[in-house]
């Protein structure tokens, strides 16, 4: 039997992608006109906040795809080989969004608006003991340098992993020894990626990009929490692409068993996210020390309480109730619905990480932000689609690929 190994991008797919991107550009323009161009710094911050929120969120969830690949590589996982090209394609978006988000971050850092990052304002820092104290970390030079390093490192290591994967397409491995060597090679690069990941996503990057919006506030959990949020959304994104390809008659060897396991990841990491969310919230709630509770005040009980609890319901209750059953993880419609819901839920989570720091008393109209988000979605569709069409959909010569075929849960 012949299988459709080569993905060709359907016309309609690209049309939708471009439509989304156009909507995104429109939203950005609209946002710029209504607030970005204003002379009021608070209004300006609303514009930049939206770009920061979406830019960072979509960059992190695309990057999560490469984390998934590297983590499974290190764990010698075999089951995911059947659809491995999907996370690879998603990770190919990282350099593209990286450039955009990097530009946004640098623009905010070096721009004249200091509402997002108070610490970029030399005057404000002078009168503020705490910010003065933090200057060794919260300064423009380090921010810019580390941001650039991070995005470049993710892109390069991601590229290396993808290249390793593609290198087998034309040139099958000769014997067991070369297979072992190939796996070893993969392991080494995956380990390098994980180390960089630990130094960035699991620690410094969320502090710099997001936590420094509330520059006085701190939480040791913050980065791990942000990671879990982006990872579960990243798994959902992979899931969406897998379902899309299956629906279009691709990914012959990927079946509901694989979908089931992706669903398990979505379920498990939703619970994991909840666990971290709860731990952070409960510990701060319990100790009730004002220097920490100030963060949750506008979120849990202030203007953002609606967003806050809605995102909690979406990100915890919905997966708990809808993804627990075995059947729902194997059903295309349920799993697709859940994937979209989870991506939206964690988008909301990031929303409430960013905006209360800028506008604590009023929740900005979310329509624009959703527009910007659609723009990023379009971009991901377009770039990932292109990446998918460039190489076969099955890493057919990978030593573990056969295990994936007979995988069952």
């Amino acid at each position: 039997m012949s299988i459709r190994e080569q993905f060709t991008v359907p016309k309609k797919y690209n049309t939708v992608a471009f439509a989304f991107m156009a909507l995104g550009v429109l939203a950005i323009i609209g946002l710029y006109i209504t607030s970005g161009s204003s002379s009021d710094v608070h209004k300006q911050a609303r514009f930049w906040g939206s770009l920061l929120h979406n830019g960072v969120y979509f960059l992190l969830i695309c990057n999560a795809a490469m984390f998934f690949i590297c983590a499974t590589t290190l764990a010698w996982g075999g089951w995911q080989m059947a659809f491995r090209r999907v996370p690879e394609a998603i990770s190919a978006v990282v350099p593209v969004i990286g450039v955009i988000s990097g530009a946004i971050l640098l623009a905010i850092c070096f721009g004249s608006n200091h509402e997002l990052y108070h610490w970029t304002n030399a005057e404000a820092v002078k009168g503020d003991d705490a910010l003065e104290w933090k200057k060794g970390f919260l300064n423009k030079g380090f921010f810019a340098g580390w941001t650039v390093f991070t995005i470049v490192a993710w892109s390069l290591l991601g590229y290396k992993m993808r290249k390793l994967s593609r290198s087998l397409d034309e040139k099958p491995l000769e014997n067991r020894e070369s297979a072992k060597k190939y796996i070893w090679n993969n392991t080494v690069w995956a380990a390098a990626y994980i180390v960089v990941f630990a130094l960035t996503v699991m620690s410094s990057i969320p502090w710099l990009w997001l936590m420094s919006i509330d520059a006085h506030w701190y939480s040791t959990m913050y980065s791990w929490y942000t990671f879990s949020s982006s990872f579960v959304a990243g798994m959902s994104l992979i899931c969406l692409f897998v379902v899309f390809l299956k629906n279009n008659g691709y990914l012959e060897y990927t079946n509901e068993e694989h979908l089931h396991d992706i669903g398990k990841f979505m379920f498990a990491f939703s619970i994991f996210w909840t666990y971290l969310w709860f731990s952070q919230f409960m510990l701060i709630w319990y100790a009730n020390i004002p220097e920490e509770t100030t963060y949750f005040k506008p979120r849990a009980s202030g203007a953002y309480s609606g967003v806050f609890w809605l995102m909690f319901i979406i990100n915890f209750l919905a997966p708990l109730l809808l993804l627990m059953r075995r059947g729902s993880k194997r059903k295309y419609s349920t799993i697709t619905f859940m994937a979209v819901l989870i991506i939206f839920g964690h988008w909301l989570d990031f929303y409430q990480m960013v905006f209360p720091g800028i506008s604590p008393n009023r929740v900005p109209l979310m329509v624009y932000d959703l527009g910007v988000a659609l723009g990023f979605v379009g971009l991901i569709m377009f770039v990932a689609g292109r990446a998918l069409s460039k190489s076969p959909l099955l890493a057919k010569n990978h030593p573990f690929v056969k295990e994936s075929l007979i995988h069952h849960t």
Partner: protein, 482 residues
């Protein structure tokens, strides 16, 4: 679904040698059916002696008061809770291996899960001793139970992390025991059916609950194992999380840290795996089970150790960084002066912790080291020491100099009874482990048989034909079998 039992030949065999089902039974039952060796008797007696010492130590403490320990008004918890957290941490590896790795389908778990689960249960028993006997009025320990009592409708304080501990530890112990025992039942039936002596027939007959191996029973057994694994996974996370809440909910600098829950869990897995290594490196040798607990098993567990050690390391650095970043004097003092400062009274303990937990496991980046049994054994001891100091650092170096300088305290050194209590739990642990390794199969027989045709060395060697098939040939041939 395919009947084919296949895995890539790149993966090393999990059962070495030329084994069939019967040989597996023979190999694993042999130590149980043979007479215990002199080595066993020596170890067992030493353990019992240590246990007796522990009992004496606890008796002293109960008879004459908690004042038998060198705790004071500033350092209210010391060795007692350090040891508690340490043992609970160790008690995480077993359930992790059997539950999480079952869900993640890591085949290598079958070689080690039985011993690790047993270790978990014994470690939790040891851990439970500390919060019980550290109470000033242990004879009133039942006050922690929410029972209708003569004092009117006085219930317990459900807001207290210590009460959460009561529920968490007892639930964890119960569920681990059920999980372990339900897995043991088929193997006990194997021993029963092989028994020649009368007492063995009776003992294993009772213990095996009348297991027959009926397909329907296996079906339910599988479902039970899976659900118990699914329940145990969040449970195992919750237990050390709740232990971490004991500290993290407070306002004490160095205790109140939001990263504690996941970081305690990572540390628990880390120390648990170290203890599993300590035990298995010896067990496989003494019981001659090298073909089942192979170097591959040891290597994979060393990988877990370097991974979790590094996670713990990131958490240490995060904590340290945030203590600085927070710009809270008290927090920063707790880290800068009480811990990092090598010349402060307990500075050395922080650096022992750093050295043993973060730096030393990094040698496991080298494959040669991961596969070296001596290094593995030595490292597992180091990690155990390091993780003990982690708890000591968290508990003692936080409280001994906290908010009011007027209450800063002197050096805290344990008395003989505090040390004796700790030694006693070692005695208890090893007494249990020696009995376990004598009377129960230390490797899950049924589970090894289950993976034998996929991961057994001799079976893998026969799969060369499948290995050279292209993926399409393979798919056509095996995927649509039924």
């Amino acid at each position: 679904m395919s009947l084919l039992r296949y895995e890539s030949q790149v993966r090393p065999a999990l059962v070495e040698g030329d084994k069939d089902y019967h040989q597996v039974t023979e190999d694993i039952c042999r130590p149980v059916e043979a007479k215990p060796s002199k080595l066993w008797w020596t170890g067992f007696l030493i353990s019992v002696l240590m246990l007796v010492f522990g009992i004496v130590s606890v008796t002293m403490e109960v008879m004459y008061g908690t004042g038998q320990w060198n705790l004071g008004k500033t350092i209210g918890w010391g060795w007692d809770i350090t040891n508690f957290v340490w043992w609970v941490g160790i008690g995480h590896a077993g359930t992790l291996i059997s539950a999480i790795l079952l869900l993640f389908r890591q085949g290598w778990r079958t070689g080690v899960n039985r011993a690790a689960e047993a270790m978990t249960i014994f470690a939790v028993i040891c851990a439970g001793q500390f919060p019980i006997w550290h109470m000033g009025r242990v004879w009133n320990a039942f006050f922690v139970l929410p029972y209708p009592n003569t004092r009117g409708p006085l219930w317990v304080n459900f807001n207290s992390p210590l009460l959460w501990d009561v529920f968490a530890i007892s639930t964890y112990f119960t569920v681990s025991l059920l999980f372990w025992y339900s897995g043991l039942i088929p193997d006990l039936a194997t021993l029963r059916d092989r028994a020649k002596k009368k007492w063995r027939k009776v003992f294993y007959g009772v213990a095996a609950f009348g297991w027959t191996g009926s397909t329907k029973h296996w079906q339910r057994h599988e479902a039970l194992s899976l659900v118990l694994a699914g329940l145990s996974t969040p449970l195992v996370l919750s237990v050390h999380t709740i232990v971490s809440f004991d500290f993290a909910t407070s306002v004490v600098p160095g205790w109140h840290t939001t990263i504690f829950p996941p970081y305690f869990v990572a540390g628990a897995i880390f120390s648990g795996f170290a203890m599993v290594q300590t035990l298995l490196v010896v067990t496989r040798k003494v019981l001659g089970l090298q073909e089942y607990i192979t170097l591959e098993h040891i290597e994979v567990m060393n990988k877990v150790i370097v991974l979790t050690g590094s996670i713990v390391g990131i958490a240490y650095l995060t904590e340290l960084f945030m203590a600085w970043y927070s710009h809270v004097d008290y927090e920063w003092f707790a880290f800068k002066e009480n811990r990092v400062n090598l010349f402060s009274p307990y500075g050395w303990s922080y650096w022992i912790m750093m050295g043993c937990n973060v730096l030393s496991p990094q040698i496991f980046w080298f494959r040669k080291m991961r596969r070296n049994l001596v290094v593995t054994f030595f490292m597992s001891i180091l990690v155990n020491i390091g993780m003990w100091f982690e708890r000591f650092v968290i508990i003692v170096t936080s409280v001994y100099r906290d908010y009011l300088p007027s209450s800063w305290s002197t050096y805290y050194r344990p008395t003989i009874w505090e040390v004796g209590f700790y030694m006693g739990t070692f005695g208890l642990f090893f007494t249990c482990y020696f009995l376990f390794s004598k009377f129960f199969p230390v490797i899950a027989i049924a589970e090894i048989k289950h993976i034998l045709k996929r991961s057994g060395g001799n079976f893998k060697d026969k799969m060369g034909g499948i290995e050279v098939e292209t993926v399409n040939q393979f798919g056509d041939k095996h995927l649509h079998e039924h």
